[in-house]
Amino acid sequence: MMTEAQHPLVTDYLRRLREATATLPPTVAVELVADIEEHLDSANLGARSEADVRQALDRLGSPEEVAAAAGPELPPLSSPDALIASSPPAAGTHRLESVALLLLVLAEVLFIVVPLSAPLWVAGVVCLVLATGWTAREKVAAAAFVATGFPLVGLGVVVSALVVAELGACSASSTSTGDVIETCTTTTSPLGVILPALLVAYVVAQVVVIRRLLRSLR
């Protein structure tokens, strides 16, 4: 995205910037150089004096400085407490959140064993409500995608099984030798395919949400 009248100092700066960002991941490097080029274009340096151009480039910082700023990332700052505490948070700080997730996922996985999974689920929901390590929106996401796991998966599997069973028709016929042969035919209806597909999609969404929630705890 080069404008026509690019000052030679600018062209040189961008060349040095490309060199300095060579060690960065390609997408990061390309994006940074594009952003800086756009910045310099916005400064309308094409027709300015050399002093002005040099000043603008000074304000930008050296290509090495700029590239270094894109370097190894410090951990994400989704929680303001993480930024204000100069030491990492104590180990037990986010236990309640992790436990909530664990309980809800266990309840979902063990849904068949209702006497076990139901209390696990209730405990998980209680932990989720009491948890303070997530923002309100994160807790809503957790409720919508993880807490619904046990009821939905349990329900979904049961309904799928019923649908498949109902579609099967068994007929008994007797052969000439007097034996009774039962032949069962099952027809697949769209429901029998859609429901499992929905289940899979839901589980995938769950995994994505859980990973995001865990990442925000760090």
Partner: protein, 106 residues
């Protein structure tokens, strides 16, 4: 301290976007003038990170003279983050001031 500085700078960027969406160039110039950054260029990686973290979003806008430019705005997550920061920063600043001023007096 580096993390503190970086975190404060990120939230200053969010605060500058709170009222209205802006072009990076204006944002960066404001930060430079406010004396918050020694090198304007280092704001761009920060903006990229904010975008990757979902705190800001960009649209390409046709500009009057020249190629389309990136127009930055706050996402809902960005607003949440800014609000949370405001609360934390206020308390932190008060605590630090109390201690640092107290020590200076004695």
């Amino acid at each position: 301290m580096a993390q503190l500085r970086r975190g404060v700078l990120e939230h200053c960027v969010l605060a500058l976007l709170e009222g209205e969406a802006r072009y990076a160039y204006d944002l960066v110039s404001d930060l430079g003038e406010a004396g918050l950054v020694a090198s304007e260029g280092t704001v761009y990686p920060l903006l990229s990170r904010l975008r990757r973290d979902g705190l800001v979003e960009t649209v390409w806008r046709e500009s009057v003279a020249g190629p389309p430019r990136r127009y930055y705005s706050l996402t809902l997550n960005g607003r949440d983050s800014l609000d949370a920061f405001r609360r934390s920063w206020r308390d932190f600043r008060t605590s630090v001031d109390r201690i640092v001023d107290g020590e200076a007096r004695s």
